[in-house]
Amino acid sequence: MTTTSSRLPSAPHGAGGRRRTFRAISRSTPLVPALILLAIFLVGPMGFALWGSLTNAALTGYRAAKPQFIGLDNYAALFADADFWNSVVLTLVFVLFSAIIGQNVLGLAIAVLLRASSRIVSTIVSTLVVVAWVLPEIVAAFALYAFFSADGTLNSVLDGLGLGSVSWLIDYPMLSVILANIWRGTAFSMLVYNAALGEVPPEITEAAQIDGTNTVQRFFLVTLPMIRRSIATNLMLTTLQTLGTFGLIWVMTGGGPGTRSSTLPVLAYQEAFRFAQVGYGTAIAAVTIVLGAVFAAIYIKILKPEVES
């Protein structure tokens, strides 16, 4: 594969290396604007993240103008900081429960139900789920803030049922943002799984039916294995999307009360812009980027055969 894909098509015999190189360069020139943009504004900040995390840069004053190199001090401070570890745990909890479990399981469940329900119900429900996803993040965040707030809809309903109300955003901030993120992000998984289920050839499930399996067995033994690629892809994408969630949490809880819902992006923002510790905040960002990079690398590993084709 490697040799065929790297060979230039229709390279004339005896064209010579120089001509070939020239043509390779001229053919690739349209890539240049993209390369410049990506290098300055995407790779640049990543490099800045790694370099900046090694300085004592501040937001204002002398240390903003002339940050000093302080080596791994930020990381040493970071790894000794209970807030940081709290934040790492909260981030993992957030990703695990809202993306890996919540969005994926609910998305798959809805996708399955859509195929078993009547057309009008499936159209209405899938539209609503998609609208929750298409809404601007900040609007969704306000809507969910209202839903969970002390005088909000959820408590009105609970009151009406005589169950008493709970200060969701104060007492259960993580639960609130996790549920909010499930509400907001499930559409993606639903669409992915709906598509994947549509690709499963009906003959196979029918054959399993003839073999005497029941619906549940067919689902777990036939359908799930057949869509496992979509599951892997979707798990990774929802994980990466959720890892970067900021607006939703910022509007709903502001990372609080205290630091009880400060995931890594929130903590990085607070350290850098509230407490003006840009270097320290950058170190948190660097850790988040590395975390994302690990997930991205796994994801690409899964996708590898498709890139090669």
Binding site: S5, S6, R27, S28, P30, L31, P33, A34, L37, L38, I40, F41, L42, M46, F48, A49, I110, L113, L114, R115, S117, V121, T123, V125, L128, V134, L135, P136, E137, I138, V139, F142, A143, L144, A146, S149, D151, G152, T153, W183, L191, V192, G198, Q209, M236, L240, G244, G247, P265, T282, A286, T288, I289, G292, A296, Y299, I300, P305, E306, V307
Partner: protein
């Protein structure tokens, strides 16, 4: 498998139903249960959205949902001032349009050699781009701020557009490359034989054939930029440059005495364009999957 990205994915409306065996009671009961469960989920999903719609037309809107007892457009007229709504929406439009246009132009140029010629570095580049499309951009905001201080790009719409374009480029390049792959190269070969340059073949043969694909990518990037909150929140300071996402947050961000009706009215004015664009995109692709179009890449 390269066509996966652009493949129209069947929405529930159009799916082909699997003919089930003779009218046994089990499927019918299954259908009833599915309908009931979905309806319950639908209620959970609709309530926060309905809160916005009801509050916007309710003269006495509260933080809890309730059917408006009277109908009013006062909330809309209260927020529809130049500085509170019109200017922020205009800024959102500027940023989104600039980002989408720049991304599509740069993306098309980049996708062309990637789709048409095989180069030694190509696989590495595509992997790198794919990798870039995966990274959590919010994690980059602190270093981007620090970098923009040095580049003197803070509080600049151009800076925001450049950064947002760079972050949407990886996905756009993948989507555009896949759309381009589905345009047969034989059409251009004829043009090349006639002496047309690669760029001319791109402009006159490939682009017209992939207009729907370009439309999808444009709308995709546009809606992402329109909804983006964190990037302008960090990189812009001046009130007159704020897009709607940040304006709505600064007006109503401190959850004190909030005029919920006005908040909802503003939210609707800000959300409707994005919902309309999503519908347009659905029309183009014939699929409800358009926004996730870059899924496989």
């Amino acid at each position: 498998m390269t066509s996966t990205t652009t493949r129209a994915i069947v929405s529930p409306r159009r799916r082909t139903r699997v003919p089930l065996s003779v009218a046994s009671p089990a499927p019918r009961r299954g259908k009833l249960i599915a309908n009931l469960v979905l309806a319950a989920l639908g209620i959970v999903f609709v309530v926060p959205i309905a809160w916005i719609v009801f509050s916007a037309i309710d003269p006495a809107a509260t933080v809890s949902i309730s059917l408006p007892e009277a109908f009013t457009l006062d909330n809309f007229s209260a927020v529809l001032t130049y500085s509170q709504t019109i200017l922020p929406l205009w800024n959102s439009a500027l940023i989104s349009f600039g980002t989408a246009a720049l991304t599509v132009v740069v993306g098309v140029l980049a996708a062309y050699p990637l789709s048409r010629f095989r180069q030694r570095f190509q696989r590495g580049f595509l992997y790198g781009v794919l990798f870039g499309s995966c990274l959590p951009i919010t994690a980059l905001m602190v270093p981007v701020y620090a970098m923009f201080v040095q580049l003197k790009l803070l509080d600049s719409l151009v800076g925001v557009i450049l950064f947002m374009s760079a972050t949407s480029l990886p996905m756009a390049i993948w989507m555009l490359k896949n759309f381009m792959d589905s345009v047969p190269i034989s059409l251009e070969e004829a043009a090349w034989v006639d002496g047309a340059s690669a760029m001319r073949a791109l402009g006159q043969i490939v682009l017209p054939l992939m207009r729907p694909g370009i439309g999808v990518v444009f709308i995709f990037v546009f809606t992402q930029a329109w909804g983006n909150f964190f990037v302008p929140f960090v990189l812009l300071f001046s009130a007159e440059k704020m897009p709607a996402a940040v304006a709505i947050f600064t007006f109503f961000g401190n959850h004190g005495a909030v005029a919920y009706g006005q908040l909802a009215a503003f939210a609707m004015l800000y959300s409707v364009p994005i919902l309309v664009l999503y519908l347009v995109m659905q029309r183009i692709t014939g699929s409800s999957f358009a926004l996730a179009g870059g899924l496989k890449g």
